[in-house]
């Protein structure tokens, strides 16, 4: 019989048994694999499944608004959208970059850089690629939801500041929290949080900043929300009321114009800051959104330092404004006695050197007493007084009146200025004090430097009989600091009479600032940036022009308002360049006060006009031309000692 596979029945039973064992072994191995995942590592994978499933989406809490003293909105929020890039899938993102770049008008390089900068953040955390989305951007995202699935919109609220840098240095600005801030915040801040970076925004960040809410949602594998787990509502930030008076601020802004310098207006009775201006100014609305690196670099490297708040950070020689301190020290210590007179031939000679009076070469002051010396700002008189007083007395009084230390205003980065003393030169220069140095210091030159805010507080305090209130910008601030250094009644009388005379008596350096019905008083100062000799050597240059000061107040005794004005490198004298600004503000203060008394202006009326919310800028109460300055060559100038 031939072979047929039909009838071959030799079965390899042993090898079949081997195959069964292999099958059992194989299933056993697979079960071991499941045991590892499902029993041993179960918790780990359970958490990963939960992270997949649940997504926490922040709900941004709006920041508190800032109101002026009458409840008008100075800083507000506006709704806005940010464009988010979901980056859990780098390949997908890479693939869509050209389309995104096209649709949102961001360069591919820029997008790459942003991705590069955020590569250390967890992948599931989306990044903001365009903080300020236009309606065209939103349309683009909406219409390309299915074909560009890596874009998302985030509703946010942005800061809205007044236009053109109005009140900008006082309010400061916000920005995304820096790494250091996040670290210092004890996990309170997360990357991308908006915090105050400067000014009041920074000072009162804890009040202004709310607590972001959180939405926990279930998302499916393509990131679509399918269910809602829980929601924690955001707690909005609290609004703060400032001591700033919008009307006075408006006058201050317009009166200073675009000249570099600063204005600060205080109510010396309370320390409330009524107006604060610094020029040049950036527009903080530019920082409310992310600022391009290039712009930021430019702002920081600008030789004019627009980010500097000159009202509290410019430290300059106070010039003749300082003579009020010298004069007060003289009267209080009776050194030299009150009746002291000096002869001014247009210069004085001390230690074999000639010190010029500011009228040198044009005229001379002749015999001057204290009253006349303050009115005409005679340098020679104060050179002599300074020498007689000595640096110890001068330094003691100036320090008591607030120079050389911070006023304690509720703003970050206030500067302290400097009041020289024996101790100071020994500590810093390791040398003895030269007696001749006091000649310069007595007239506000030499090493003494002050901020505009310090001068306002000092002059306001002296005119208030030696009560120095801590300047502050929060209306309902508690525990306002106060320094008392009582000045005798007769001293206060004579000093304030003299400062009244500066504006109101013939021969004063600020007679063009006279206001009918208002006891406008004050003291001018024209401080040199460099000495006469140096200036002659270098020639006339803008940056070496004199700084013009005027500290004005009203009424004559126990003033309600004091205004310090600094106009830098104007080349004009204090009374001419800065005086009119002080006068405009004091006038505006009285105009408003009088109308209030007559009942025509109430805070309630003004609630309707919220300057920061509306587009239109409210017209100032007083029309001012910044450049306006009546020519009064013989009397508008101020002292120029030769600093040593």
């Amino acid at each position: 019989m031939s072979y047929s596979f039909h009838s071959d029945n030799r079965l390899p039973q042993t090898r079949l048994a081997v195959v069964s064992y292999i099958i059992v072994g194989m299933i056993g191995l697979l079960l071991l694999g499941f045991w590892k995942l499902q029993v041993i590592d179960s918790d780990k994978y359970g958490q990963m499944a939960e992270q997949n499933r649940v997504r926490s989406i922040p709900i941004i809490a709006p920041r508190g608004r800032m109101l002026d003293r009458d409840g008008r909105v100075m800083v507000d929020n506006r709704p806005s959208f940010s464009v988010l890039l979901l980056r859990d899938d780098p390949k997908l993102v890479e693939q869509y970059l050209p389309a995104i770049s096209d649709g949102l008008a961001i360069s591919v390089d820029d997008l790459h850089e942003q991705l590069q900068n955020t590569r250390n953040l967890p992948k599931f955390q989306p990044i903001v690629i365009k903080p300020e989305a236009s309606s065209a951007d939103l349309d683009f995202i909406e219409s390309h939801r299915s074909d560009i699935p890596v874009l998302e919109m985030l509703s946010v609220s942005r800061r809205r500041y007044m236009p053109n840098g109005f009140l900008a240095h006082a309010t400061g600005y916000v920005g995304e929290a820096s790494e250091q801030q996040i670290e210092a915040s004890n996990t309170k801040l997360r990357p991308g949080d908006v915090v105050g970076m400067d000014g009041l925004e920074r000072q009162y960040n804890d009040i202004l900043m709310g607590t972001d809410g959180m939405r926990r949602v279930i998302v499916n594998s393509v990131g679509k929300e399918v269910d809602h787990l829980s929601q924690q509502d955001p707690i909005p930030g609290k609004q703060i009321t400032l001591t700033i008076d919008y009307d006075l601020q408006t006058v201050a802004e317009q009166s200073l114009g675009q000249r570099p310098g600063a204005v600060v207006a205080l109510d010396p009775r309370t320390g409330e800051v009524l107006a604060m201006v610094s020029r040049p100014t950036p527009d903080p609305n530019d920082f409310a959104v992310r600022i391009p690196k290039e712009e930021w670099r430019k702002l920081n490297e600008d030789p004019l330092h627009p980010l500097l708040n000159r009202a509290i950070q410019a430290q300059l020689a106070p010039g003749s404004v300082f003579k009020i301190i010298t004069a007060t020290a003289m009267l209080e210590d009776k050194v030299p006695p009150e009746s002291y007179t000096a002869f001014c031939p247009g210069y004085g000679t001390f230690f074999g050197r000639q010190f010029k009076c500011w009228v040198y070469g044009k005229s001379s002051h002749g015999v001057v007493d204290l009253h006349k010396a303050i009115l005409a700002s005679c340098d020679v008189f104060f050179y002599n007084v300074g020498l007689k007083l000595g640096i110890d007395r001068l330094s003691f009084y100036a320090t008591k009146f607030g120079l050389g230390h911070k006023t304690g205003i509720d703003l970050p980065s206030e500067k302290a200025g400097l009041m020289p003393s024996r101790e100071w030169v020994e500590r810093v220069f390791h040398r003895k004090w030269y007696e001749g140095e006091v000649i310069s210091v007595a007239t506000g030159q030499g090493a003494v430097i002050t901020t505009p805010l310090q001068l306002a507080r000092t002059i306001g305090g002296i005119a208030s009989g030696g009560v120095f209130k801590q300047p502050h910008m929060l209306k309902d601030a508690q525990n306002i600091g106060e320094e008392r250094f009582p000045i005798s009644e007769s001293t206060e009388q004579k000093i304030t009479d003299a400062m009244y005379g500066v504006v109101n008596e013939p021969g004063g350096t600020g007679t063009q600032l006279k206001l009918t019905g208002i006891e406008m008083s004050g003291k001018s100062g024209t401080a040199q940036v460099i000495g006469y000799a140096t200036r002659e050597r270098l020639g006339k240059q803008k940056k070496f022009e004199d700084n013009a000061w005027f500290v004005g107040y009203a009424p004559k005794r126990n003033p309600e308002i004091v205004v310090a004005v600094l106009v830098q490198e104007s080349g004009q004298h204090g009374g001419t360049a800065s005086g009119p600004v002080a006068r405009d503000i004091v006038k505006a203060y009285y105009d408003k006060k009088n109308r209030k008394i007559q009942g025509t202006v109430t805070a309630a009326d003004q609630h309707g006009a919220n300057p920061a919310s509306g587009a239109a800028v409210v017209a100032p109460l007083v029309a001012v031309e910044p450049g306006e300055a009546p020519a009064a060559p013989a009397h508008s100038g101020d002292g120029k000692p030769e600093p040593q």
């Binding site: 596979f5 071959d8 079949l16 081997v18 069964s20 059992v24 590892k36 994978y45 997949n52 393509v222």
Partner: protein
């Protein structure tokens, strides 16, 4: 010659195991798709299964010897169809695998697997000696090699690989010499090594295949590719724990994190919702199925019947191994479905036709 076996001659245990596995599959397909736009898929699967059972019973009635007699013709048909699909077949997901026939798209390679089982059974049955010599082994290799190359060309690595264990198991039972076994095992190991070694694999594999290998080795580098798929599958399995999250409650499954959760990754969805106890049940059923097939082989009337049954066992066993190992992240993504649980017409029909052959052998064990 009694040619009409009675109903009691069917392997009812095998049918019960089969039905139980199918039931798990339908349940999980329902769970995975009922809340999505794929809802109703389990009904389609039930229709395929019913069709499959009918074909299984139909095929069991035709004497397998008659089928084996046609092996040469079937082999030619198989090669022609595989060649045709390369020329005429529809392209989907970058591969030519489907051919349109009788209003349905069929994956020709599924049919090819069945035919190769038959062809190999015939070939090994005709080897008369108790030991398989090298010549016969190389012949068998050639028989498998040609269709394997054609399927690789589609490309469909997964299906092509299934032919290898069929050959291996057949050769082993046909009396493969241990030294040959050693050499071929070594060759296999070298080949696998080459696949995983990029400088060599770039000559052997398509780009997408290399990518799967890479992402298997380094899943973290591949956020949403197959590395992501493997990771999500592992998360699903692991988060299921011992007791499972409950029917219809698997977040990985319901929210779509598991890739093709109703088909290739159905074991992942099952493991998430039913936990380790469910896996124990499912793998226990598969083990019972495979052992039952071996038992049928042991009781076959002749060598040809045994080779037929063991060819089926080799194919199904390999499917289970590769698919389940992929689900737990122990093997790269190959696109091999889990027999009887994964959704899919062609694959389901293949399994039932294969089991039909097994029934056929069983029904005739007492004949003659």
């Amino acid at each position: 010659m009694k040619d009409a076996p009675g109903t009691r001659d069917y392997d009812w245990w095998l049918i019960a195991i089969l039905a139980a596995i199918c039931a798990l599959g339908v349940l999980e397909i329902y769970s995975a798709t009922h809340a999505s736009n794929l809802a109703g898929m389990h009904i389609k699967q039930i229709k395929w299964l019913l069709f499959g059972f009918a074909i299984m019973f139909g095929l069991s009635r035709v004497d397998y010897h008659l089928i084996l007699d046609q092996a040469l013709i079937l082999y030619v048909v198989c090669l022609t169809a595989l060649a045709a699909v390369l020329v005429l077949g529809g392209t989907r997901f970058g591969a030519k695998r489907w051919i349109h026939f009788l209003g349905q798209d069929f994956q020709v390679s599924e049919l090819a697997k069945l035919i190769i089982i038959i062809v190999l059974a015939r070939f090994f049955a005709e080897v008369r000696s108790d030991e398989l010599d090298l010549r016969d082994l190389l012949k068998a290799g050639m028989l498998v090699g040609v269709p394997l190359a054609l399927i690789l060309k589609q490309p469909d690595l997964g299906t092509a690989l299934v032919l290898v264990p069929m050959l291996a198991v057949g050769a082993f039972l046909a009396g493969l010499k241990w030294q040959h076994a050693g050499i071929f095992t070594l060759a296999g190991v070298l080949l696998v090594g080459a696949v995983f070694y990029p400088p060599v694999s770039k000559h052997l594999l398509k780009a997408y295949q290399r990518e799967r290998i890479t992402s298997f080795l380094h899943p973290e580098d591949d956020a949403k590719g197959s590395g992501y798929q493997l990771l999500q599958s592992k998360i699903a399995v692991g988060s299921g724990g011992f007791w499972g999250k409950g029917f219809g409650n698997g977040s990985q499954n319901q929210l779509g994190y598991i890739p093709v959760r109703y088909s290739d990754f159905i074991m992942s969805a099952w493991a998430e919702e039913q936990g380790f106890k469910g896996v124990l049940l499912a793998l226990g059923l598969y083990m019972a199925l495979l052992l039952r097939l071996v038992q049928n082989a042991q009781r076959a009337k002749d060598r040809a019947g045994m080779f037929l049954v063991m060819g089926v066992a080799a194919a199904l066993g390999f499917h289970v191994l590769v698919n389940v190992a992929m689900v737990i992240g122990a093997m790269p993504v190959t696109g091999i479905p889990l027999p009887l649980m994964s959704y899919g017409g062609s694959a389901t029909l293949f399994v039932f036709m294969a089991i039909g052959l097994v029934m056929n052998v069983r029904l005739r064990r007492f004949v003659n």
